[in-house]
């Protein structure tokens, strides 16, 4: 019984009062169990296995390092730039980044996948950390742009967001590899661990600020584009992309 007689305020579940510590936020975002839909995608590994280009641990490692150094780097650079634009309160820059990423994604199937994953990531983020900055994007932003904004909302630095994007660019295909090729999960994770220094180096490269969007990384991986297009028309497939 209180003498003041004021009714206790009910806990507000819609507003996050304490920010998540950035280390914990990075783990949350990079966790394969984060329900943003990434588990349904193999990052074009499934069609590459079907085509016979990936068939063992050696070819898997080569696939992963090539993927990280091309489309992985591009995704990481756009995630870092989107994170920076969100910290700088610059929604116009975010729209520009989204268009610039379209120009770097020639495969319509990959554009659709990226926007679908971006939408799903925004929905999860809105539930775990409601923030007006999440509403500044359209309903279907590219995944790296959404990742950058979510990273900023969770208090991550652009570099950590870039590292999360790079980790995701290889960790997803590694999880898929175990299911698609019946490889030893210990051995596939050893491959993932060996890629660590490369991912760190690429994250640093991705974190370089670029004033001109045209100068942002644009390294392409034509075989991944072709694989994505072929996979989109296949009726028997385990992964969505």
């Amino acid at each position: 019984m209180t003498s003041a007689g004021a009714a206790p305020t009910p806990p507000d579940h819609t507003a996050r009062t304490t920010p998540i510590a950035s280390g914990a936020a990075l783990l949350l975002l990079a966790d394969g169990r984060f329900p943003a839909g990434g588990y349904a995608h193999s990052g074009s590994l499934e069609p590459s296995i079907t085509a016979g280009r990936v068939h063992d641990l050696t070819t898997l490692e080569s696939f992963l390092s090539g993927r990280a150094a091309t489309v992985g780097l591009v995704a990481a650079a756009f995630a870092a730039a989107s994170c920076r634009a969100t910290h700088d309160h610059d929604p116009a820059r975010l729209a520009g980044l989204d268009t610039a990423l379209d120009a770097r994604t020639p495969s319509p199937a990959q554009r659709a996948t990226s926007r679908q994953l971006g939408r799903q990531l925004l929905r999860v983020a809105t539930a775990i950390a409601p923030d007006h900055r999440l509403d500044s994007l359209g309903a279907r932003p590219h995944q790296p742009v959404a990742l950058g904004v979510v990273g900023a909302v969770l208090g991550l630095t652009p570099r950590d967001t870039a590292l999360a994007a790079l980790h995701e660019s290889v960790a997803g295909p590694v999880a898929a590899a175990v299911r698609l090729m019946a490889l030893d999960p210990f051995a596939t994770h050893a491959v993932l661990a060996r890629l660590g220094p490369l991912l760190e180096q690429l994250a640093q490269q991705a974190d370089q600020p670029h004033g001109d969007l045209d100068e942002m990384p644009a390294l392409s991986a034509p075989l991944l584009d072709i694989a994505a297009e072929q996979h989109a028309t296949r009726t028997t497939r385990l992964f969505a992309s």
């Binding site: 050696t58 070819t59 080569s62 696939f63 390092s65 993927r67 091309t70 392409s220 034509p222 991944l224």
Partner: protein, 236 residues
């Protein structure tokens, strides 16, 4: 030289290290004529080893088979190369409403120089309103130890159309390829439409997702205007 020609940096030609500087130009306009409007070639500037000639159609051309009054120009190379250190530049201006088919007579063989200098080709394309460019260059073959940078910069006005093909062969028969980098920037009405870099034959991890031992022997792609397809026999 090598520092200036890194991917991602816009570099200016450095005359000091260049062995062969060539700057060729072609421009077209649309003019009214007795049989209806025709495309006229107003500039045709060859610069050895880049030679430009007006030609007639010798094979099916995608996208323009039924268009009367279009212009055709062929690019021929009057010498081997580019060899490391060479700087080539080609400017293409397609005037409003005009149509140009620009093809190449032969393949381009990229060769190294003794000192490992980078060779560079810059292609600047501008297509004005309602203009059409069908650009069908020949295959680019990256020979052993070559180091080449290909820059393609395209500005399309609103309503302009572009069909562009590229084809790379990584080495001649049973030959490991040198390094071939390409930057393509296509902008329409000030908006970035297509922006892709390619790095072939460089450090292994820079290869775009191509597993060791199964590198493709070539790569070919095309940009087609909406509603147009590239006939099969036009592909090499």
């Amino acid at each position: 030289m090598t520092a200036a020609a890194t991917l991602g940096t816009r570099s200016t030609p450095q005359a000091g290290s260049a062995r062969m500087l060539a700057h060729a130009r072609v421009a077209t306009v649309l003019r009214a004529g007795p049989g209806g409007p025709r495309t006229h070639v107003t500039t045709l500037r060859s610069d050895p080893p880049l030679a430009l000639r007006q030609t007639i159609a010798t094979r099916p051309e995608p996208g323009v088979s039924t268009t009367p009054g279009i212009a055709r120009v062929s690019l021929t190379a009057a010498a081997a190369g580019p060899i490391g250190g060479d700087q080539y530049r080609l400017d293409v201006d397609v005037g409003a409403g005009s149509t140009l088919v620009l093809n190449e007579v032969s393949a381009t063989l990229l060769l190294p120089s003794h000192d490992g200098a980078v060779s560079r080709s810059v292609i600047r394309i501008h297509v004005e309103t309602a203009g059409t460019l069908i650009w069908l260059p020949g295959a680019v073959i990256a020979a052993r130890r070559c180091d080449h940078l290909n820059e393609v910069q395209v500005e399309l006005a609103e309503g302009a159309r572009l069909l562009m093909r590229e084809e790379f062969l990584l080495g001649r028969h049973h030959e490991p390829c040198g390094r071939l980098r390409q930057q393509v920037r296509i902008r329409q009405a000030g908006r970035s439409l297509y922006r892709q870099d390619l790095d072939l034959g460089g450090p292994p991890r820079a290869r775009p997702g191509w597993p060791r031992g199964t590198e493709p022997s070539g790569h070919s792609s095309s940009w087609t205007p909406r509603g147009t397809t590239l006939p099969r026999r036009c592909r090499s």
